[in-house]
Assembly symmetry: C2
Homo-oligomer: 278 residues x 2
């Protein structure tokens, strides 16, 4: 483990289907990779129930821990259990109000869907109107796939983006918001990684080599990737670093990789030759 | 949303690979489904970094919120970044100590692996010995797949089980521990669910029917399963209930399903006939 700086981000995935085990949360890993690419560092991912108080508590806690970015997924739809914006409103102490721009967006989307025969009519029923009720001061982001707008709130020390839970909608809205998120990331860090084959299937042997390299090269993260024991298993070690400039991160990763190969050669000589013989 | 009682469980997934987005956390959904089958109710799933302080904070917070079961996954291996047990020890204020039974297990597993040619030798190096250092009073659970024992701690109001992160190991160890977990679940609740086809692709229309049924049938959870808009989409609604006896939960689900079909027939008649015509 290396001490890491950079803009901390937290992800709050909302939905009882995540807690019941019906749905695997693939959104959070996708978002975490995108946030890493933007130069932020995800420090926590949490799944919570469709409950405004729980959602509010997670957002407030993220802010208290110093997260500069909070991304929520899920719970923006028209049904009563979709209550993410109530949670956001509670955490940030902003009342929910109908937003004229969001109403216009929702009305336009349902008009398009009605024209295409996908819905029976375009009238703003209660559920549709609900999707246009945003925390005061929030900005709606047009959803190019579904009907619920994304919601962006920019405060002095916190940028919060609420995205839908349907992956295609979530991904499209994230892409549409990426520039706004980038603006919230102070001193974005370039992430560089490389994987090195260890020549061993035994993590307990690799551990010593990894620990020596981690000590010798500050600011790199080394992680062996355990699978399971097998005589022909060649465990990989992922080496990564973050730095303001990619060249700096690359140099650290390169140095760690060279040292690791040297350490592994010393440590696992016996193992490797034995394994290769079989 | 229905108010739900039952034994609350939380899952703490440990590993920087989850926060970087390299790995999708499939373990937590698997565990959540198994805990549901055992009669518990998962109230939160969190992914945290390989950091004892972060892990300890999450476990302590779960206990403070009233969780009776906490399951951790990941971070039991031999490398320096595997630090889940240090986090558990911190949260529960139990020092880490080498456990004779765990040492014997680890020694036996490496002897077996060495005999099979999967590792070079069976000596207890530092990494292997580390896996046998458990929080005081903990009980090791034999790992039938890998080498790190699972770790069970039973306190008056909290049962904590630490499992490895490799899915095959995690699953095997959970199965080996299920009886112990069941003993910690007071008043286990039987979970019953059914999915109903709504005859509509428009969640904003279904919302009204779902809300009426939720109000009329207490103790059921109704959730429409959004995908995306399409003229031929038939959104499904998942109806579920928990009760001490399966028959009671079944009766509630049946009543809600019948009412929902009735409400949907009223609400979506226009939509359905229009869609079926195309």
């Amino acid at each position: 483990m290396s001490p890491e700086s950079g803009t901390a981000a937290e992800i709050v995935a909302v939905g009882r289907e995540l807690l019941s085990g019906h749905t695997v949360d693939t959104n959070s890993a996708w978002l975490a990779a995108r946030l890493r690419e933007l130069g932020a560092r995800v420090t926590r991912i949490v799944s919570v129930d469709d409950d405004p108080a729980e959602i509010a508590r997670e957002i407030a806690a993220a802010r208290a821990r110093g997260a500069r970015l909070v991304i929520t997924t899920g719970g923006l739809g028209p049904t009563a259990d979709d209550c993410t914006l109530a949670g956001v409103a509670g955490a940030l102490e902003r009342p929910l109000r109908e937003h004229a721009g969001a109403v216009a967006f929702v009305a336009r989307r349902y008009a398009e869907l009605a024209a295409a025969g996908a819905v029976a009519d375009a009238a703003l029923n209660a559920g549709r109107r609900k999707m246009a009720c945003l925390p005061e001061g929030a900005e709606p982001i047009d959803n190019p796939v579904g009907t619920a707008p994304g919601v962006l709130i920019v405060e002095t020390t916190l940028t919060l983006l609420s995205l839908p839970g349907v992956p295609r909608e979530m991904q499209a809205l994230f892409a549409a918001s990426a520039a706004r998120l980038r603006a919230a990331i102070e001193g974005p860090l370039q992430f560089v990684e490389r994987e090195v084959a260890s020549g061993s299937g035994d993590e307990s042997v690799i551990a010593m080599a990894v620990a020596r390299v981690a000590q010798a090269v500050p600011g790199v993260d080394l992680k062996s990737l355990p699978t399971t024991f097998a005589p022909d298993c060649d465990l990989r070690v992922r080496i990564s670093a973050r730095a303001p400039e990619a060249a700096e991160a690359e140099a650290r990763v390169r140095e760690a990789a060279e040292r690791l190969e040297h350490e592994l050669a010393k440590l696992t000589l016996g193992t490797v030759s034995r394994l290769r013989r079989e």
